[in-house]
């Protein structure tokens, strides 16, 4: 391989077909004269513009099927010609410089074109150079060279993460790996599980309980997850009424009075709430509005007047003090009920964190746009992050996540996308240049992801995500069943 051109932070390397270099691979451009090396990542592979190639292709296309050819080439020179024909141009992005064994992101120098040696840099060596520590290892999978790829759980701590890719590429699988990796290190995790995919994280594929079983707690709203009105703060309830149930301001003010009235009498139950609304002296329209919301709350099944039936979220978190995951199974929950539950959970989390009853929590939100109200997005990446809610958004529709979220994302786990619009959206992330995202992500095979951000010290690395021995749920149901 030879250094051919450099323009901006892009270098072009001339390589022969035997080089076996693929997109995402790292190269070390070593300049022996200056004792420095450039680290560059291959983002595209093109055919080299070899002189005379057009004539040869035209000549060969003339003969295809029309002319029967025989060759007497005893010196086998044709193989050399073919070899040159297949020579390629590796388009690479400069990622850093190695000088005296130390890595820096600087790339303000130019290596010698004639003297530099270009060789492949194995991912394992890159990780060592970049000093990507493994104090709290979370094994994600393996690199192209079949070496294990492990990230440090600390790199997820206090960070905003995005897991994105098109359907069926393995996003949820990676999320599960991250969830289990975090709880292994004693982290507290809350999963907003839209499709009930995480409910069986505590079971092996053969149905037996696994080592995580005691740390996985699945809460299904209306079933084993109910609360009393007393557990809910007025602020949270008003959020539910206004944002989830769209209660107008005037009615909300009336509701606040009713709530306080019941609170003062220590009769804050669902039954009493209904009775009070019925007997409350107010505008009939307001009363009707309150009644309709009351029935929505009632029908959600999420509220109960029986304290024994109610779930104490605080206790659940206390049980998970040594690490555990609270899976909020939203699978069979309607859109409105989902919003009610999520409003409650987030409100409760903020309360517990504000009171330092819990230290921090890792929140995994699948397709968050389906249940997270608009105003929460900014809240999550700013205020709530400072309180200790470290969110990981998981989505196959990258345009549902706002641009400012991408800009502030610390880590991105990017799976395959082929749609230009999706790639354009993801490429707005500041952790990597748009060309890298568009070029590499387009060609990622299923179950391979491009890891970007703090976890890899801004050296994008393509990883084959490892398999998990857990019971799979949430898989698509098919009509046509394999007869075999």
């Amino acid at each position: 391989m030879r250094l051919y051109r450099k323009e901006g932070n892009t270098v072009q390397i001339l390589a022969l077909p035997s080089g076996n270099v693929e997109k995402g691979d790292y190269l070390l451009i070593d300049d022996p004269a200056t004792h420095r090396s450039l680290i560059a990542q291959v983002i595209d592979i093109q055919f080299a513009n070899v002189p005379g190639i057009l004539e040869e292709l035209l000549r060969n296309s003339t003969t295809n099927g029309l002319v029967y050819e025989e060759r007497f080439d005893p010196l086998d020179i044709a193989s050399h010609v073919t070899y040159i024909q297949d020579s390629r141009l590796l388009v690479c992005k400069i990622r850093g410089t190695v000088e005296d064994g130390k890595l820096s992101v600087s790339a303000s120098w130019l290596p010698s074109r004639s003297q530099s040696n270009v060789k492949r840099l194995p991912t394992a060596s890159l990780l060592t150079l970049a000093k990507i520590s493994e104090d709290l290892p979370v094994q994600l999978g393996e690199t192209k060279e079949l070496s294990q790829f492990t990230i440090d759980a600390r790199a997820l701590d206090g960070k905003l993460n995005i897991v994105t890719g098109k359907k069926g590429t393995g996003k949820s699988h990676l999320s599960k790996l991250l969830v289990l990796g975090l709880i292994d290190h004693g982290a507290m995790v809350v999963v907003l599980d839209l499709n009930g995919e995480y409910a069986h994280l505590g079971f092996s594929s053969n149905g037996e309980k696994n080592q995580h079983h005691n740390k996985i707690h699945v809460l299904t709203p209306g079933s084993n997850f109910k609360i009393t009105l007393d557990q809910m703060k007025l602020r949270v309830m008003l959020n539910v009424l206004i944002h989830a149930l769209h209660l107008p301001g005037t009615s909300a003010r009336e509701f606040r009075r009713i709530w306080r009235f019941l609170q003062e009498r220590n009769t804050l139950t669902l039954h009493e709430l209904g009775e009070t609304i019925k007997n409350w002296k107010c505008n009939q329209h307001v009363k009707d509005a309150l009644f309709s919301r009351y029935y929505s709350l009632l029908n959600s099944g999420f509220f109960t007047d029986n304290p024994a039936e109610a779930t104490n979220l605080e206790e659940n978190f206390q049980r998970n003090r040594e690490g555990g995951a609270l899976i909020l199974n939203l699978r069979d929950t309607s859109t409105v009920d989902r919003q009610i539950v999520v409003e409650y959970i987030l409100g409760k989390l903020v309360d517990l964190l504000t009171q330092w009853k819990i230290r921090a929590v890792f929140l995994f939100a699948e397709e968050a746009h389906l249940y997270l109200r608009e105003t929460y997005w900014d809240d999550i990446v700013t205020r709530m992050r400072h309180l200790g809610v470290f969110t990981t958004f998981v989505t196959n529709q990258p345009n549902t996540i706002r641009e400012n979220i991408y800009r502030q994302a610390d880590n991105i786990f990017l799976f395959n996308f082929t749609n230009e619009h999706d790639l354009e959206t993801v490429s707005r992330a500041t952790k990597v240049d748009a060309e890298t995202v568009k070029s590499i992500a387009r060609d990622l095979p299923p179950h391979h992801c491009l890891v970007l951000g703090n976890v890899v010290k801004d050296f994008p690395i393509a990883v084959k995500v490892r398999a998990l021995d857990i019971q799979t749920t949430g898989q698509t149901r098919f009509f046509f069943i394999d007869k075999d």
């Binding site: 002319v67 025989e70 060759r71 007497f72 010196l75 050399h80 010609v81």
Partner: protein, 364 residues
């Protein structure tokens, strides 16, 4: 050397049998390898990829330019295509300068034969064969090939190093012509160039033998010159036919040669305009073939091959396939550096050094 390297020949070989028996590839290969055996570790200056090709017919024709000759007779001959499945065979070769070493030059030659029969084309590629020609071995290479294939006992004059590439190329061409002449039957054989003999590469006896060999097997040799320097009363030969409707020939009779010149025209010279378009060519038809038979051969060519711009497709393909592309030159350079351990050096371009951006043109 052959035993050591042991190159196996192509097992499935659709080439006419007598051509194999001549064993030229084997000898060519031997000489090719032998010539390169001594260059191990030398420095190699690759030739720039903008390559050029030596036009063999120009070389021959250049020597036979004649001006202000007494006017020969011009006789237009209209043609009618005859379709009868006659096989058309075309031969072409080319050579390329691959680079220079400390002691000599590296060149490569290649030959191609194209057949058209039963409405399909077949093509046989021979080579390329690289040669390292030095002052030491040039005579040996040339005379060995010459004696081997022309069966001439006397040694030719010592060719200059710069001409060796063309010499070797011409030898290969003559050998291919011989192979085709003695292996085909009732075919039309197309040569690239003219039927002018009497040069070092084309001894009169040898070319006469070639033509006779072809005639004995009822073949007719037609030679097409893409460019000719023949002029009649100052007019370019190929310009004389423009007023006649195609397809037609214009016979140039009584073309004189200097008595002192060793050059001999072994063919009747015509100007051929076989299709519409702006091109016409000098066409030499074997003098040993009766005039009528010669014209009939051109009519058979018209009826059995495709023609574009008055040029036969078979010969066009032979030319295209034998031409070296820049990429092939790089491939040959790679082969030589790998097999012979040559070290590539880039000599400074003197023009560039002296004149900077004004130093254009070839190095030197």
């Amino acid at each position: 050397m052959i035993e050591q390297l042991h190159y196996a020949t192509t097992p499935k070989y659709n080439f006419p049998k007598p051509l194999e028996d001549l064993q030229l590839p084997q000898r060519f290969m031997e000489l090719s390898l032998k010539s390169m055996k001594k260059i191990d570790g030398e420095y190699f200056q690759p030739h720039e990829t903008t390559f050029y090709e030596f036009a063999k017919e120009n070389f021959q024709d250049a020597t036979s330019t004649f001006l202000h000759q007494p006017s020969p007779t011009l006789r237009p001959i209209p043609l009618k295509p005859i379709s009868d499945d006659t096989t058309i065979i075309a031969i072409d070769v080319s050579s390329i300068n691959v680079g220079e070493t400390q002691t000599g030059v590296l060149c490569a030659v290649r030959g191609v034969i194209v057949w058209r029969g039963k409405n399909r084309y077949r093509c046989f590629h021979l080579g390329p064969f690289p040669f390292h020609v030095t002052e030491e071995n040039k005579k040996e290479i040339y005379n060995m090939l010459r004696q081997c294939y022309f069966k001439v006992s006397e040694e030719a004059s010592n060719p200059s190093l710069i001409n060796m590439q063309i010499r070797i190329c011409n030898l290969l061409e003559r050998w291919l012509q011989m192979g085709v002449s003695c292996s085909s039957h009732r075919s039309i054989i197309l040569w690239d160039g003219s039927l002018t003999a009497g040069t070092v590469d084309s001894p009169v006896n040898f070319v006469s033998q070639l033509l006779e060999m072809a005639r004995n097997r009822l073949n007719t040799v037609l030679a097409f010159s893409k460019m000719t320097r023949l002029r009649i009363s100052g007019h370019r030969l190929t310009d004389l036919i423009w007023k006649y409707p195609p397809p037609c020939l214009l016979q140039i009779s009584n073309v004189p040669t200097h008595a002192s010149s060793p050059m001999r025209f072994l063919g009747n010279i015509y100007v051929a305009k076989l299709t519409g378009g702006s091109c016409s060519f000098r066409l030499d038809i074997d003098k040993g073939v009766q005039h009528e038979k010669g014209i009939e051969a051109v009519q058979r060519l018209l009826g059995n091959d495709l023609l574009s711009q008055s040029y036969p497709e078979t010969l066009r393909l032979a030319h295209i396939f034998s031409t070296f592309t820049a990429n092939e030159v790089i491939g040959i350079q790679r082969f030589i550096t790998q097999k012979c351990g040559l070290k590539i050096v880039t000599r400074p371009n003197v023009r560039r050094l002296l004149f900077g951006s004004f130093g254009k043109g070839a190095e030197g």
